[in-house]
Chain length 223, copies 2
DNA sequence: TAGATTGTTAATCGATTAACAATC
DNA sequence: TAGATTGTTAATCGATTAACAATC
């Protein structure tokens, strides 16, 4: 559909339409391609074929071509996809130009580890504040990230235009936390509590359930 | 198919057949149902309808009935599914009678947090040993879990009949670690390193990519 | 009984894969 | 050119949902 090859579709109506239609699977794979390309960049390999990218990502060439189609990036039949430009194309599609302010609720073992993990690899989603109900923790600074009381959630989310929240609280407090985040204006949640959060219409929720993941491995490791 | 109602299919050929055919999605949902039932048990509610379970699990009644079908559990048209017996049915299907010995490789920030996390909620997959290349860490005991050198991996895996491995090493070391685990006889891997592990035929690999998950939330939180 | 729920089969939906003319 | 790869369309595959007779 785009008449100019080797480029991404321009921002505008087509863009936002595409965003709505793209499935979670496609986004996951695009993120994987992105990381592969990033690692490939220093190698000075100018281009890569769909089957090479597929090999590295653990998928198929047809899948890769289909996926890249949704971001409107066109390769060439001679040399495949230009690494640097494709990377730029995915970044543009993800709107990964500036960092995305993120808050984390629950500074327990897992919460602490997440703060460390994300701050060490200064990921684009950047944890700007942590929250906890424990007065012992409030006021402390972990890896450059200050811990606030829950009372301050609303203010900080608004002041810093935070759209993403991470839930690392105990199971019992998870639903309440999700409601607070939603009320403060959060648009997306990464939830580590092993419960199905409910009634958050319009908010995107991604669940990471560590115990469930391990149980899944246990099940399938028995063939 | 099973002529006796309100029971699970007996172990045997049907059983192992079912295991092979069941998709990952179904297993994930069964694990979720399982946790819900577990929490419901103290409430002394004897039974639950498919639509109630669906509400709690964030799915549909038809989906629940379809899922329960694969484990061969039959409810009654009058009262639905008996909580205690269904829970037992899922446990049997998962073979969750005894604990599953598990090893963890990479005792960094994330690895430490995982040891703490899993030991605190004494999950059925039980981390019996940790491994690290850092001589400083070898010999130390974290939450009752001793850290060994990688040289000892083979022996411990064999002695303790370990089938599951968790990879929490830096990205560069992940593939090497996976190969070592595979060589030692591990059958399933939970991988936290942001790389696609390759060439491990016959080994089940579940990836948890924290950065990717957060990027996914960032993307969809923009609608 | 009347009404709600079940197991099961059929229909729908969406995602992956295959096929192929166009291209360099 | 010959040959490999591309974008795109069609075919396949699998998973979810809808429908409904049977049941309590």
């Amino acid at each position: 559909m785009p008449e100019n090859t080797s480029t991404v579709i321009p921002p505008g109506k087509t863009y936002s339409l595409a965003v709505q239609m793209v499935s979670q699977r496609v986004i996951e794979r695009l993120a994987i391609y992105r990381r592969i390309l990033e690692n490939l960049l220093p190698d000075k390999e100018p281009a890569i074929f769909s089957h090479q990218l597929a090999d590295l990502a653990g998928t198929t060439a047809a899948q890769v071509r289909q996926d890249l189609r949704v971001i409107g990036y066109a390769g060439s039949t001679r040399s495949g996809y230009q690494v640097a430009r494709l990377l730029k194309g995915i970044d543009d599609f993800f709107s990964l130009s500036e960092t995305e302010p993120t808050v984390l609720v629950g500074v327990g073992n897992l919460g602490m580890a997440l703060i460390t993990y994300f701050s060490l690899r200064n990921s684009r989603p950047d944890i700007v504040a942590a929250f906890d109900t424990d007065p012992e923790k409030v006021g402390k600074v972990y890896h450059g990230c200050r811990c606030f009381s829950m009372d301050e959630l609303n203010q900080i989310v608004k002041e810093q235009y935070v759209r993403i929240g991470i839930i690392a609280v105990p199971t019992d407090a998870a639903q309440e936390t999700a409601d607070s985040l939603a009320a403060a204006g959060i648009r997306g949640i990464l939830n580590f509590a092993p419960v199905t959060l409910r009634g958050n219409h319009g908010i995107f929720i991604e669940n990471i359930d560590l115990t469930l993941a391990l149980e899944k491995v246990a099940f399938f490791s028995k063939q």
